[in-house]
């Protein structure tokens, strides 16, 4: 089996960030590292962060720092990576021109080094013992900007140190509810430098931000002042932008993924992904759907069934649209866009005919195309009419700001706007067959006209120069795209939607008009209609089939992504004050204004809040409800939360036992999200079980666990009931818990199996009984032949449901460390050990005996196991490796989808043919040589950091093929006996197969 690995949604967790002016002297920008992805972010006018560039470096990014060459106006980024070639590869903190912290001796030392630019060498200046709790250094600007020296952040203290200067200490303020033996540790900082004063913002591990200022008299610092500033969730990195924004890269947003299930519970077109995300008070259950999230800004009913909708501006330079024009079969309505959208009669448009097209022309006149002719509304309200000769009617029309083309049956008539502001008939051409669709691209910048008109006819051809199609074209659209987007050298692409639901994209040669390099993709069962809309200020495509799709250029690569919205009939681009990049659409007799947020994200998500960190997720097979197990270490259970009780009493009324849970109170949950929950003692646990209705994403039932038990495992198991003799089974929810679980070393007071009966069609739970088990925490559970398999520490046991408790039937004690996962298929049991990979076991019923018959030779630290078929397992380990283990050959082809702790989602796709596998293996090889990763890390070494990579092609590296230089692309393609276009097509095809 050869696999193709591709990241579907890149990790969202930020691990380091640095602020600077990277692309221009005044640009306020942040460079962030998301593990192995380097990104440049910029806040836009709306205060939203926009990703400007994103690139995968195939290596670990350990540190980032801005660096400015003397006299330059822009910054460079220094990347510390694991390649051994950059600046980094040291685990100590380093700052601009001095570094410190030698942890090799028991006493921590602070050492100053000086960089000698002439010699390009560092010189050790002086060294001084420092508090042993020191964990971070903050450089203090020296010279003209301040006293120089360094702030040492230590547990509970911030200390100022400098050469020949007495150390100045300040205590970090503590939270009231913090246990006495807990220290306060600074985890991130940002410095802000202004002419008049400078200050530092430092953040503690609990999320509190303090403002640190230095009081100095000339060169002598007299005091360090630490003042509480605000609280945001703990951050990996913070930065103050000159524009006054605080950039906070949270350690955990809602991005960390723990477990997810791909299921189609709601009977939608594409299965949903149910994912457990986040941590503590910020945890959530998310439903992910492939596609873009759509916000409905307005929806209003219309009289009758509209056939088309258009938007037009008042004048060429206008930012926003002025009118929405809605056409019916025998009339046209015009709405003016202002504070609100109102019907208007003074637009000059003819209301008694249907409208085929509208356009604002270059001289600020308006054009309405209706079946009877063209209505040209000049800026001074004079109206010119061009009537169709004879009894013919205009069937199709297309326009840009200078050119108009209309189709009368099989004839195409072409008009141009002359310098006098008049539309003049320039040419007439017979097509030979009726015209099905027409499109003309906007006039390229600096040109007088667009050279090409694309015409699709009912004889299944599209003509720029005439080309046969597999079906009748429905709609056409011309787009600019490619590497140099919108520039004079960008490619021109013709999009052809066919009546069989296929979208074809071909490149139009800018000189000869020849159509080359066709790619096709199936969009849906309805013939797609294509409309130009604006995405990120570029002309893009909205395709309406049985579901809407958005096609746009995503960092130079054309991607087409479905929208998570119902089918639309007709649409047009729309820009207004509230909604700079949206579209108006008509669907089932109503007019809607829609906007797409987060363009470029492969999945859109719906989220519901949870109380504690979610650990396990199960779906009831018949009732289709979701069971979520939540547990938090060192947290205080809801019932014992004094602050919650006080708050409720203060608000008056409810008894303390009526506390429903913080996640149901939006205000409280938001506060909790910001400030965090009070800390408990190590070994204190808070846990609950929850039932969620997938349709509404609302909690149907929630129960807290008592006895300081934390949930370790959960499964839905059909168990034979003890009283029944006829082999009747009932599906029970079994939860494995450990009370008072502590780490370093892992030990617990007691472990239990809790069995819950599921009532009210999967909407309520009732505790049947609780059984104490010995051996260790119950780390894994699995249903097995109407019985239950439980991994208790390193012991595997088989239990049967009893009336008062679970009855132990059989056990196996020789497993190495700790059972992390259990799966069963037939009489075969797959046991994943936390350090010793997977063991294949069997149960012999006659002897009542469990035995191992195969195991893996490599010591894998298993975190997750997915059975692929009877003999094959996909195994993920703690260090981020994924392996497929198998007894003998024969596997069915399946796509393996995974989620990571940093929030990334990826997939493994097994190649269906040897030829594909060979092609991609060779492409990967060439890419490694010709286009090595940005940070210089050896790609093969990176992918083989823990285990040598085998039979798996890195799709992320292959996907960088389009960004290689043209000459290199050609030479690589030549080596593979293909053209660059064919290579690109193959890459796109395999991507489309996975998604």
């Amino acid at each position: 089996m050869h696999l193709y690995h591709l990241t579907l949604s890149r990790p969202s967790g930020v691990q380091t960030a640095c602020y600077g002016n990277f692309s221009g002297p005044k640009a306020q920008e942040v460079v962030v590292s998301r593990g192995k992805v380097l990104e440049l972010l910029r806040p836009n006018e709306m205060g939203k962060l926009v990703t400007v560039v994103s690139t995968e470096v195939f290596g670990c990014i350990r540190a980032l720092a801005p660096f400015r060459i003397t006299g330059a106006s822009t910054d460079y980024v220094i990347v510390g990576s694991d390649s051994g070639k950059g600046l980094g590869r040291s685990s100590t903190e380093w700052s601009l021109d001095w570094t410190g912290e030698a942890a090799s001796v028991a006493q921590k030392q602070l050492t100053f080094y000086e960089l000698d630019l002439g010699l390009n060498h560092v010189v050790r200046k002086w060294s001084d013992p420092v508090d042993n709790g020191a964990n971070m250094l903050i450089p203090v600007p020296g010279g003209a900007d301040g006293p120089g020296g360094v702030l040492v952040c230590a547990e509970n203290f911030i200390i100022y140190k400098n050469q020949d200067h007495e150390e100045v200490r300040a205590v970090i303020p503590r939270r009231n509810d913090l246990p006495g033996d807990r220290g306060v540790l600074i985890v991130s900082y940002a410095s802000h430098k202004k002419k008049a004063y400078s200050f530092f913002l430092v953040q503690s591990e609990y999320g509190d931000i303090y403002k640190v200022t230095l009081e100095a008299q000339q060169e002598t610092v007299t005091a360090v002042k630490v003042k509480y500033f605000d609280t945001v969730p703990p951050c990996a990195s913070i930065a103050v932008l000159k524009t006054g924004f605080l950039f906070a890269a949270s350690e955990y947003g809602n991005h960390a993924l723990y477990q997810f299930i791909v299921a189609n519970l709601l009977g939608e077109e594409i299965p949903q992904i149910y994912a457990l995300t986040g941590r503590g008070p910020r945890s959530a259950l998310a439903v992910l759907r492939p596609g873009l999230a759509v916000t409905e800004l307005a929806a209003s009913p219309l009289p009758g069934n509209p056939t088309a909708v258009f938007t037009v501006k008042h004048a060429m330079g206008d930012e926003f649209d002025a009118y929405i024009v809605v056409s019916f079969t025998n009339a046209t309505l015009v709405f003016a866009i202002g504070e609100e959208v109102k019907e208007t009669n003074d637009s000059g448009f003819l209301g008694t005919v249907p409208t085929l097209h509208t356009q604002l022309l270059a001289d600020n006149s308006l054009l309405q195309v209706h079946p009877g002719g063209l209505r040209h509304i000049r800026p001074d309200r004079r109206i010119n009419e061009w009537k169709v000769p004879g009894r013919r009617q205009i069937t199709r029309a297309t326009t840009n700001e200078h050119q108009v083309a209309i189709a009368l049956g099989g004839d195409v008539i072409y008009f141009e706007l002359d310098p006098m502001g008049q539309l003049l008939e320039a040419e007439k051409k017979e097509m030979g067959d009726d015209v099905a669709c027409l499109d003309i691209a906007p006039v390229p910048e600096g040109r007088a006209r667009c050279r090409f008109l694309a015409v699709g006819c009912y004889d299944s051809t599209v003509r720029v120069l005439g080309r046969a199609l597999p079906a009748i074209p429905e709609s056409l659209l011309m787009l600019y795209g490619g590497a140099d987007e919108g520039g004079p050298d960008s490619g021109l692409f013709l999009q052809v939607a066919l009546q069989n639901g296929v979208l074809m994209r071909t490149e139009v040669d800018r000189i000869s008009g020849q159509l080359t390099d066709p790619r096709s993709r199936f969009l849906g069962t309805r013939p797609p209609r294509l409309f130009p809309v604006s995405v990120r200020a570029h002309r893009s495509m909205l395709a309406l089939s049985s579901r809407p799709w958005l096609g746009f250029s995503d960092h130079g690569r054309f991607s087409i992504i479905p929208l998570s919205y119902e089918a639309l009939d007709y649409a047009a681009g729309f820009a207004s004050d509230q909604c700079p990049e949206g579209f108006v659409a008509v669907s089932k007799g109503s007019l809607r204004i829609l906007a797409v947020e987060n363009v470029g994200e492969t999945f859109n998500q719906q989220v519901t809040r949870l109380r504690y960190t979610p650990r396990r997720l199960a779906i009831h097979p018949t009732h289709n409800t979701l069971f979520v197990a939540e547990a938090d270490h060192a947290a205080i259970p809801l019932a014992e939360r004094e602050d919650v009780k006080e708050r409720l009493q203060a608000e008056g009324g409810m008894e303390s036992d009526a506390v429903q849970g913080i996640e149901f109170d939006e205000d409280m949950a938001a506060l909790e999200e910001q400030f965090g929950t009070p800390r408990g003692q190590p070994g204190q646990w808070a846990a609950c079980l929850r039932i969620v209705d997938p349709a509404t994403l609302s909690t149907a039932f929630v129960v807290e666990l008592d006895n300081n038990e934390g949930i370790q495992s959960m499964c839905l198991a059909p168990l034979a009931s003890p009283s029944a003799t006829n082999g009747a089974v009932e599906t029970m929810l079994v939860v494995g818990t450990a009370s008072g679980l502590r780490y370093y070393p892992t030990e617990c007071d007691a472990a239990y199996l809790r069995v819950y009966r599921i009532l009210d069609a999967g909407r309520r739970l009732e505790l049947l009984h609780k059984t104490q088990v010995d051996g260790g925490p119950v780390g894994a559970l699995c249903a097995f032949k109407s019985r239950l398999l439980a991994g208790c520490g390193s012991i595997l046991r088989l239990y049967e449901l009893g009336k008062k408790k679970m009855l132990r039937k059989c056990e196996y004690k020789q497993l190495p460390h700790y059972i992390a996962s259990l799966n069963a298929c037939g009489s075969r049991i797959y046991v994943g050990d936390s350090q010793e990979s997977v063991h294949f076991m069997k149960y012999k019923k006659a002897d009542n005996h469990l035995y191992i018959f195969a195991d893996d030779a490599s010591p894998r630290y298993v975190t997750s196991v997915l059975p692929l078929d009877y003999d094959t397992m996909a195994v993920a380990d703690k260090f981020g490796n994924v392996g497929v283990l198998r007894l003998p050959p024969d596997v069915s082809a399946q796509v393996i989808v995974y989620g990571t702790a940093m929030g990334g989602i990826g997939a493994f796709y097994p190649f269906s043919s040897r030829e594909d596998a060979d092609f991609f293996t060779h492409l990967e090889m060439h890419m490694r040589q010709e286009h090595p990763p940005l940070c210089g890390r050896d790609h093969m070494a990176f992918r083989s950091a823990y285990w040598p990579v085998k039979d798996c092609v890195d799709g992320d590296l292959c996907a960088q093929y389009p960004s290689a230089l043209g000459a290199k692309q050609r030479s690589m393609a030549e080596e593979l006996d293909r053209t660059p276009g064919e290579v690109l097509k193959k890459l796109e095809d395999i991507r489309n197969k996975i998604l």
Binding site: Q15, S91, A103, N135, L185, V187, E205, H633, Y743, G880
Partner: protein, 102 residues
Amino acid sequence: MATLSDRMSINTQIEHLQSKYVGTGHPDISRFEWALNIHRDSYASYIGHHPMLAYFSTVENESIGRVKYDFLQKMLLPCGIPPKPQDAEEEEEEEMEDQGKK
């Protein structure tokens, strides 16, 4: 058959490895030193790989910064106080015996 020069080159290679990587080890390495190297390597790897820190911090319900600090501290003495060298231990035993005789 290995010639003298082969053996020489192997020796230099090992020396090179030992100078480049701290934890390479040598034939006379003690159990404690071996464990020390492994533990320090593991902690260094955890600290160097941010997702690993995230993984640990989720389990412990701590912030990533705190886990990183704890791991750094643990790199000092990951296996507890080093045992006394063999000869020192023997001397001590002899002393004990001597005291016993007295």
